[in-house]
């Protein structure tokens, strides 16, 4: 190996960047330009600004960081954000599966409309969703006025946060599960039926295990989105300290108090959570793809 590598060092050195990275020769042009531009743009717009957060927080020192992130009000916001996001993602898994199931398997009026509008939470600006939900669930709103006599208050409570997060996360589960369900061959279910399994057994022992990677991926995506969500939540949350303040709002609050270091410390916690989730999602997606290779 070494001798082969030594045999032709000169032209390699001359062609530099392109040869250094490229594993395979290609006749197509534009590699250096396209990759170079992409990497520089990525660094300028995304990587350097993100690095700024970590550098800024390091000026706090370990103790400062700890103090900034363990204030009771901040801790309460962590608890609310992570807790509500978990519950919302779980609700989305259940209803996302139901939506994917009826959209793939059944025929009913309005199906195409539903299929198109499932993505509404992606497309509707979060501020619009936020004021609409707040108005609906306020005590004099369409839904709130029905719930209020039952003693259920949604707007301006943690329950309102949950409602907004369920709204925002639904498409993630539906759109992850839907294509996988479409791919499930009818024969596999028929095989289970031939072997004597009833419909519930086929569902729980054959279909659910098959969908598990996709369901988990959808859960993680919905959870990740919910943790960072801001616009659709703040209008309905009421933003009471210790009760209904979410993490992104804490960052804004700190910024408004010119406590940049404190805001950055919270941001670091959120970013680390995001990166862990991103890693998890990548692993889950690889698993989903692997388990779908047709055999």
């Amino acid at each position: 190996m070494a001798s082969i590598a030594l045999a032709a060092p000169a032209p390699q050195a001359r062609r530099g960047f392109s040869t250094l990275l490229k594993r395979k020769h290609s006749v197509l042009p534009g590699f250096s330009l396209a990759l170079g531009y992409s990497v520089i743009y990525l660094a300028l717009v995304v990587l350097i600004p993100l690095a700024a957060v970590f550098l800024k927080s390091s000026t706090l020192g370990w103790e400062g960081f700890w103090n900034a992130t363990t204030q009771p009000r901040v801790l309460a916001s962590f608890k609310l954000s992570f807790g509500a996001s978990l519950i919302a993602a779980a609700i989305n898994v259940v209803f996302g599966l139901i939506f994917a199931w009826v959209l793939v398997r059944y025929r009913f009026p309005g199906k195409r409309l539903i299929d198109a509008l499932i993505d509404l939470p992606f497309a509707l600006p979060t501020a619009v969703a936020g004021i609409a939900l707040a108005t609906l669930y306020a005590n004099n709103g369409w839904v709130g006025s029905v719930l209020a006599p039952l003693g259920v208050e949604v707007a301006y409570t943690p329950l309102g946060v949950l409602v907004a997060l369920v709204f925002i996360g639904l498409p993630f589960v539906v759109r992850t599960v839907q294509p996988v369900l479409e791919d499930l061959e009818a024969e596999v279910e028929e095989a289970a039926a031939c072997l004597g399994a009833n419909r519930w057994q086929t569902f729980s022992k054959v279909i659910v295990p098959y969908l598990t990677p996709a369901l988990l991926t959808g859960f993680a995506l919905a959870f990740a989105r919910a943790v960072g969500e801001y616009g659709s939540v703040i209008f309905i949350a009421g933003n009471m300290p210790m009760v209904s303040e979410i993490m992104p709002l804490m960052i804004i609050t700190k910024l408004e108090q010119y406590d940049y270091a404190g805001a950055t410390a919270i941001a670091v916690v959120m970013l680390i959570a995001s990166f862990v989730l991103l890693l998890l999602i990548n692993v889950l997606q690889a698993w989903t793809q692997r388990s779908h290779q047709r055999i």
């Binding site: 061959e185 024969e187 596999v188 028929e190 095989a191 289970a192 039926a193 031939c194 072997l195 004597g196 399994a197 009833n198 057994q201 022992k205 054959v206 295990p209 098959y210 598990t212 388990s291 290779q293 055999i295």
Partner: protein, 370 residues
């Protein structure tokens, strides 16, 4: 356990998949449903299994009407064309599935399930793969696991949909011998669907030939090969030469020549087509002394192994080709080469009315001479 179907009809939109099909499958036999794609054979198999519902007609299992039974209650073993193994389960769990989903009061104990699965895996000679996942198996191994899984619930009948369709040629040959042996051991009534005539003739006790949703012929492999009941069956089971002519007593007049016929029920002077298999033609050197037969010229000789295929043309219909298969030794003995003039003497000619022959051409494997 016997299976029979009576007057089954099935349409998909405007497409007739099964047209009044009635069949009996005797107990303990291995029967092949053979036909070109789209002939309705898979649909019939799925109706017997209960995976598809017939528009009309009945399915009887062991004499009892099973038409209304759900697939779960029919106790059939079904092997799918693409196996439909559960990819998230090991081989062991796949085979055990049918036992584990039984109602609690009928479910065998864990130990018994383990023993039974081991036995089945031994039967299909794959007990060393118990802990693998389907994705880690070869095509032939998956096929055998699918079979073991179907057998685990002790089905009353075994239904196989193109069981060798997704395998390469060599594995396919091995597996079909193995399936035949397995059937001889188990004697479970089995039906398998195939479009491969060689497979059907080699493996099955009886062959059901189907075309356009209808049953064309039922019989043992020898019967259907030696005595095809229709032009379609003739064309589908191997190559065939066609000679157009008119019936003249016990002969078929082809141009100014006559071919001797066996028993037939066609009217005198009826327009007819003679069907002759390539290996059922005697080839004689035309030295001016030969009497009878059809004159022809050798165009090309291609040999493979001990056999040679001789391609000829007849002066009366220069566009058509006749194919004759002979031993290469025979060819050498009579001293025939390319460009030589010969006489063709069919040893066995089967005639069908010209209309019947024309209507079958659309679906039968293309005959050598149209």
């Amino acid at each position: 356990m016997s299976i029979s179907v009576s007057n089954i009809n099935k349409r998909f939109g405007g497409f007739t998949a099964l047209d009044n099909v009635s069949l009996d499958f005797p107990s303990g036999q291995l029967v092949a449903l053979l036909g070109p794609s789209g002939c309705g054979k898979t649909t019939l198999l799925r109706i017997i299994a209960g995976l598809e519902r017939a528009d009309s007609g009945e399915v009887f299992l062991e004499g009892a009407n099973a038409s209304a039974l759900h697939v779960r209650e029919r106790e059939v073993g079904f092997v799918f064309q693409h196996y439909a193994l559960f990819r998230h389960m090991t081989v062991f769990d796949n085979v055990a599935f049918g036992l584990r989903v039984k109602p609690r009061d009928q479910r065998p104990s864990d130990a018994e399930i383990r023993r039974k699965v081991r036995d089945l895996l031994q039967l299909v000679q794959l007990d060393w793969l118990a802990d693998r996942y389907p994705a880690q198996l070869s095509g032939g191994q998956r096929q055998r696991i699918a079979l073991a899984r179907a057998l685990a619930v002790e089905p009353r009948v075994l239904l196989l949909d193109e069981p060798f369709g997704a395998l390469d040629a060599k594995v396919r040959k091995e597996l079909r011998r193995w399936l035949r042996q397995l059937h001889d051991e188990l004697h479970i009534t089995s039906i398998f669907v195939t479009h491969d005539q060689e497979e059907a003739l080699e493996v099955a006790d009886r062959v059901v030939l189907m075309d356009h949703g209808r049953v064309e012929q039922v019989g043992t492999p020898d019967e259907v090969y030696d005595h095809p009941a229709s032009p379609f069956v003739y064309g589908f089971l191997g190559s065939v030469n066609l000679f157009h002519g008119r019936v003249d007593g016990q002969a078929l007049r082809v141009g100014e020549h006559a071919l001797e016929l066996g028993a037939h029920d066609l009217a005198h002077d009826a327009s007819a087509v003679g069907y002759v298999r390539p290996h059922e033609v005697q080839l004689l050197r035309d030295d001016g002394l030969v009497d009878g037969g059809l004159p022809a010229t050798v165009l090309r000789i291609t040999s493979s192994g001990a056999l040679a295929t001789v391609e000829l043309s007849r002066p009366e219909s220069p566009g058509e080709r006749v194919e004759v298969t002979v031993f290469r030794d025979t060819l050498r003995q009579i001293g025939v080469g390319e460009g030589d003039r010969v006489r063709l003497k069919p040893l066995r000619v089967r005639v069908f009315p010209a209309e019947a022959a024309a209507s079958s051409n659309s679906s039968a494997a293309a005959p050598l001479a149209a």
